[in-house]
Symmetry: C2
Subunit: 556 residues, 2 copies
Amino acid sequence: MASRGMPGLMPGQLRGLMMDRPLLVAPLLQFAAEFHGDTEIVTRSIEGPIHRTDYAATWRRTQALANALIAMGIKPGDRVATVAWNTWRHMELYYAVAGIGAVCHTINPRLSVEQMRYIVDDAADGAIFFDTTFAASMAELAGTVPSVRHFVALADATCTATLDPAIGAQSYEDLLAAAKDSYTFPEFDENAAASLCYTSGTTGHPKGVLYSHRALVLHSFGLVANFWLNPEEISLPVVPMFHVNAWGIPYAAPMGGTALVMPGRALDGKSLFELMDAENVTCAQGVPTVWMGLLDAMRKAGRKPSALKRVIVGGAALSEAMIHAFEDEFGVSAIHAWGMTEMTPLGVINQTKRKFANLPPAERLKFKLKQGHVVAGVDMRITAADGAVLPNDGKSAGHLQVRGPWIAERYYKSETTATTPDGWFDTGDIATLDPDGFMHITDRAKDIIKSGGEWISSVDLENAAMGHPQIAHAAVIGIAHPRWQERPLLVCVCRGQDNPTLAEMHAYLATKVPKWWLPDAVEFIEALPLGATGKIQKSLLREHFKDYVLPDETSV
Amino acid sequence: MASRGMPGLMPGQLRGLMMDRPLLVAPLLQFAAEFHGDTEIVTRSIEGPIHRTDYAATWRRTQALANALIAMGIKPGDRVATVAWNTWRHMELYYAVAGIGAVCHTINPRLSVEQMRYIVDDAADGAIFFDTTFAASMAELAGTVPSVRHFVALADATCTATLDPAIGAQSYEDLLAAAKDSYTFPEFDENAAASLCYTSGTTGHPKGVLYSHRALVLHSFGLVANFWLNPEEISLPVVPMFHVNAWGIPYAAPMGGTALVMPGRALDGKSLFELMDAENVTCAQGVPTVWMGLLDAMRKAGRKPSALKRVIVGGAALSEAMIHAFEDEFGVSAIHAWGMTEMTPLGVINQTKRKFANLPPAERLKFKLKQGHVVAGVDMRITAADGAVLPNDGKSAGHLQVRGPWIAERYYKSETTATTPDGWFDTGDIATLDPDGFMHITDRAKDIIKSGGEWISSVDLENAAMGHPQIAHAAVIGIAHPRWQERPLLVCVCRGQDNPTLAEMHAYLATKVPKWWLPDAVEFIEALPLGATGKIQKSLLREHFKDYVLPDETSV
């Protein structure tokens, strides 16, 4: 199916008389270099020590990298892969690769070598830039990925020399040292591809999302407005640069004149606490798992990192317990956000409204627990199974669909669009939208439990269960039931040795969920299966429990 | 000269695979209606009483207006003029006219009827929507502007009936009442024209700036990020909607979910104070003249309007005295911003940086007195007379030039671009840019005083003079001088009867400006000549003093 294409002028309509300036990625960094030149990018380097640079120096090195890439034979349209942590070098790659008209393909290093090989082959990457942490994977890949003409270690010559010779790696620092640090980035169509990120779906092969310069720049405007990215902030993206471009922060921070602190590979709570504390980080972004580690470190220290004002929580739902921990124990705002790889990723963020100021805390909390408010630039709707648009009443749950200039229209190399016939992207989530514009995900469409013609949200049930003091993690899956079609099974990881009984769980949950949601059974396991991006792999749980027989007597 | 046009893809380059969604104006209001539906637009109506509506209701009336416009025969590309204050009705016109693909042409009601006639003829407006305040001008225009097929009074039938029948005015409220309030706005090329605003230059005929939908939407993203337009704020644009679209706030506020309070025609300090106080306005935008009136009202009341946090000051330089008055007397932030009609208008805003927090107050003040920091989306440079780009060192003063997607490429109906050969717009200002990205205007290029091969900034000299307790207003112009080419004449309006002597002014200014800047003479007049937008008309001063003879002995 052909792309929908941009609409033209209507007959008689006038063209505005503003400058034809394309929205491109490289000028974002150039802007920061010119007008926020001494604003820092501080990294806990892979080599160990703290590395300090700023936007002016990063811009010069980005120009040197552009020259080096061209000397390596990288041409417009070529894909250049990165297998790397959040560092200043990874940022240079973002800008230099996209800046010369090539495509920066960020690969998740947590994938198996086999999965990486599939992705490298699919993208036909011409070069791979990797952090030395991943040398073992590179040694396995080398010689088996015919498109890759260069392996470049993000390290100096001394460090590169210690790597397995089978990789045939060049030193990144050597490449840069040999290149001139002045380069004029070309101007081209803002719809040109700038970066590529594969989504690891739970089924089938991963699919590539090919971001345009236009999408990344427009998204950056949205991020600056909604993520407090301004010259008074110091931001630490824990969310990896191999995952949806670290939510776009490496593009938006230069636009906002915001200082960056990059955690490298040390993502444990203690390391994050120390880095945030030493570098006066005011704002950090990441998934709940990371924040659990940070909260542990904060409790051990008995305080928050000195300057921390807020954490933005995405990738999975922000729980009530985590909000209380950050806000009540430590005075740090915990703010829900939601998006997808296919959305660049920002869709909603839990910014408060003036009218909420007068609400009692419990009412305000209801809003805070939703994923957040729709961000300007994203069209959002919920639809019934037949495609009918449902009202934004905060009650009607339906398929969450989005549309906008930073939403994917199709996947890389796909002949068909990924959208509905009327041009919306179906997120695969079930959600409500309220009249104030707050979206609440009740479940993944494939995870929702269909019981007697009604829906039970596995997510809400899991969150409720995780409030129990003995439950560390919980997942809920549907088990086939002769009478009700499906009924919920609660699968838990316990904090200690004392597994609560089903009756105890029912008693605990009774005030929190409708009575007919109460799980028919509870099972305890050692750990929940997690995917490469830290999400629970419910498909594996379903496989594990596929022959599970529910007790005869249901709770309904 | 042809438009430069957008660059295409380079050979081999890939097109990104994101949705082709045009950036259009109408969806900004639709977004607010859907997700900030009960956020208010409160107006001190032209009829007198306070009028309250919200984004949801405004969106419905905008759809009715679209149907009404089409029924009137307004077609895509047609120009529809407004001669109106800041009100909810004017906002409906912004969105409905642009939404159907026509062009909303805002006319400055302070122009003479003759000037209005020139502009209406030049734009060939098909209709004029006017506030009843301007009925006298409309009666003079009616019958003399052949393109205008409809005069519509922004009023109900009763009020419209009281107007001079020569106008032949229809009632706006009648038009809306007769129209269906559902309309699907078309999608079209984002480069289509959405609004038109004439700049009243100090010489020659006014020239039209034809804003595209793309420019207005991109500018709105910039404004939301830089003007604190978010759902926690209540914003009062004093800057008129007939002047560069009230700095773009009526487009950006819905995007930011910000409540609006519209002052109508009551722009005096007392009225503004009462409205801000009653409506919990947190942020207001306008020119220094307006803030002087507000400060008087605040001093009389002995307090600030209850919720006021900041005022954004543009259109003319923000003085040190005004900063002290707002910040030290009343605890309200006074923030400098700068732009031009040709820039939609935002170019710089005086947002602080983290590094300034440790500066002593006097050093921080130096930054606050500059026009502000370059906004992302605007390229800015200063050049020498020969076009060479000067360094951003905070010292080199040169011609201030800008470039970007919301900067005008040419004027309406012009066959030639308004840019330099390399595609920049010359603002006509002389400025410095410092390494932190702060721009400081030292003068208008045509106002700078060229003395002995050096430049004397008339603006800096005026600001220094206005610090004198007896000086209410001041203007400095260059007077021909046989030896130095030009020397400064200080023209003042005094607060009382006691005019300071030249010697007294020299003594006062000696510590504030270089010795060779000291004016050669001082003259006192009753009032400075002001143009339609409140700016001092130095061309008239120069005309008045064209035969002025400086005293023999210069101060140099």
